[in-house]
Amino acid sequence: MTRTTWLRGGSLACAALLVVLVSPSSFSQDPTVIRVTAERFTFTPSHIKVKRGTIVELRLRSEDTNHGFRIVGSGFNAIIPKRGRGEATLIFRADTPGRYTFECSKMCGAGHTFMRGTITVGE
């Protein structure tokens, strides 16, 4: 069973058990939730700013086809489900200031390469 299928298929009980076993307090802080909408051929918002030290939860949703969300130079890459099929979530710690580029990583049409944006982690 792959990691993805394990997470997809994992029941609520299994997921919660994981929390019980490894982390009495879960995250030390609640994540900052940022909703991003993908649509041929834009991300909205396309420029995201967060403070250093924030735990960021990106909730990625599509208004049409599958898109990808890849943060260049990191291992973060998610496929955003098609319209009406839920959302993808990326959680990370923004603890190194700088500007990160993200882009669509799933060919979505003639203007696919225009789908880019930035995450700025400020002090």
């Binding site: 990691r3 890459n77 710690r93």
Partner: protein, 444 residues
């Protein structure tokens, strides 16, 4: 947070009372084994699961990617980790990856049935398009779009076409500035850069996006593009110009593009587009084109200018889009004179052409599983909006159309379309032909 705590409490209780660990694995039936009692079996089972979960956790911590929640299920708290992976120090695009990657082939298809009034119906595999992409590195990428129109190609005029609509290299510097060179799409209007069948209503593309803006408008070009500020996108290209000898009174600019077929670039055209996409659901754009056009007859100084603006908006079940485009042809009188002398017939090219449309749509059945949309589009387009001095416009080219119909999406990437198109013109002699259109389109 509160929900998480509740879940923790629930699970702790489950553990304490020794209930089943997961709904997916019911208890084994009680056995008479003298070796292990049911309680011991359960403890062993729990220990095994704890070990399994610890392994999984280590895998998760090692992985930088946080996988997704299951798509259609109601939101559950994401499986949490003690600390989520860090975004890590930003690397420059150049440093990040120099590994070549070829993406899977994508594409779209467009299969139509057209039944013009008083004529036989026609089945037409209108478009078969394949898209390819290859990243040489994170900084350098190739995209190609190859289209077969009308399914069959031979040397005859009346058959289909194979078109290389896009084949460019993108050199990514930063989000604000990227360079592009090759065969590019003119960044004009809604449809030209956004023409996948599920992304617009109606079996055929709007008339304005056919006669006033000659979609699919592509040619050899070079330029820059990027995103700036909070929600602005731009592109600015130098492209091969339009060919004045292919502008017609009836179809406007439809056939005037050189399509990268040994495109004459004695003079290049300038084109650009600015879009605002900073508000979810709203997309506003404006674009222009300007370039000399009479390279086939050097003594005639003629230029085509095009100005366009458009908007799209979506809120809940409602959506609307609209577009306005106006074409200016400098030296139209000289072009007509020259072509009359050489070909014997004046093409009657206008000094100005104009077109606009508005298209509201609704998804009237939000409770059914698949999307269904109904739309109506009003279009007004005139390929002889203003004629050179002393020439009267022909009224049959001043046209309006009502197109109404629906789209059914068994999948967000598959659409079944039906519409009826009523076209009227201002001439009392020539009647435009209405048509019933049915289409099947898909993106993959």
């Amino acid at each position: 947070m509160r929900r998480r705590i509740a879940v923790l409490v629930a699970i702790s209780i489950v553990l304490l009372v020794g209930g089943p660990v997961s709904g997916q694995t019911p208890d084994p039936p009680a056995t008479q084994s003298p070796v292990a009692s049911p309680g011991q079996t359960r403890i062993e089972e729990l220990e095994r699961r704890v070990r399994e979960l610890e392994t999984r956790l280590r895998e998760l911590e090692a992985a930088a990617t946080k996988p997704l929640a299951p798509p259609p299920a109601p939101r559950e708290p994401a499986p949490a980790q003690q600390m989520p992976p860090s975004l890590g120090p930003p690397t420059s695009v150049e440093e990040s990856s120099t590994v070549s990657r070829t993406g899977p082939i994508s594409g779209y298809m467009d299969f139509h049935l057209n039944k013009p009034e008083h004529e036989d119906a026609q089945l037409d595999f209108h478009r078969f398009v394949l898209l390819f992409n290859h990243s040489f590195s994170d900084r350098l990428r190739f995209v190609g779009e190859l289209e077969l129109e009308h399914a069959f190609v031979s040397g005859l005029e009346a058959s289909g076409e194979v078109e290389l609509e896009q084949a460019y290299l993108d050199f990514k510097v930063k989000p604000e500035l990227n360079f592009r060179a090759g065969m590019v799409l003119a960044p004009v209007g809604i449809i030209n850069e956004r023409h996948e069948p599920p992304s617009f209503h109606g079996v055929e593309r709007p008339f304005v996006d056919t006669f006033i803006i000659p979609t699919t408008w592509f040619d050899a070009g070079v330029g820059v593009h990027g995103t700036v500020g909070a929600g602005w996108q731009y592109r600015a290209y130098l492209m091969a110009p339009l060919d004045a000898t292919r502008i017609t009174a009836e179809e406007g600019l439809h056939e005037a593009t050189q399509k990268g077929f040994a495109s004459n670039v004695r003079n290049v055209a300038h084109t650009g587009r600015l879009e605002y996409v900073g508000v979810p659901g709203l997309n506003l754009g404006t674009s222009f084109w300007r370039g000399k056009t009479g390279f086939n007859f050097r003594r005639v100084d003629s230029r085509v200018g095009l100005f366009e603006f458009d908007g799209r908006y979506r809120a809940g079940r409602f959506a609307a889009r609209g577009e306005f485009a106006q074409v200016f042809i400098d030296g139209a009188a000289d072009l007509n004179d020259f072509l009359q002398r050489t070909a014997g017939v004046s093409p009657n090219i206008a000094r100005q052409m104009r077109g606009f449309y508005v298209e509201p749509s609704i998804r009237p059945l939000p409770w059914i599983r698949h999307d269904v949309a109904a739309f109506v589009r009003y279009e007004n387009f005139d390929t002889q909006f203003k004629m050179p001095e002393g020439v009267l416009p022909l009224k049959q080219f001043d046209r309006a159309a009502w197109v109404f119909g629906g789209s059914y999406f068994p999948d967000p990437d598959v659409v079944f379309k039906i519409d009826y198109s009523i076209i009227r013109n201002r001439s009392s002699l020539f009647r435009s032909v209405d048509s019933l259109n049915i289409g099947l389109g898909w993106w993959f």
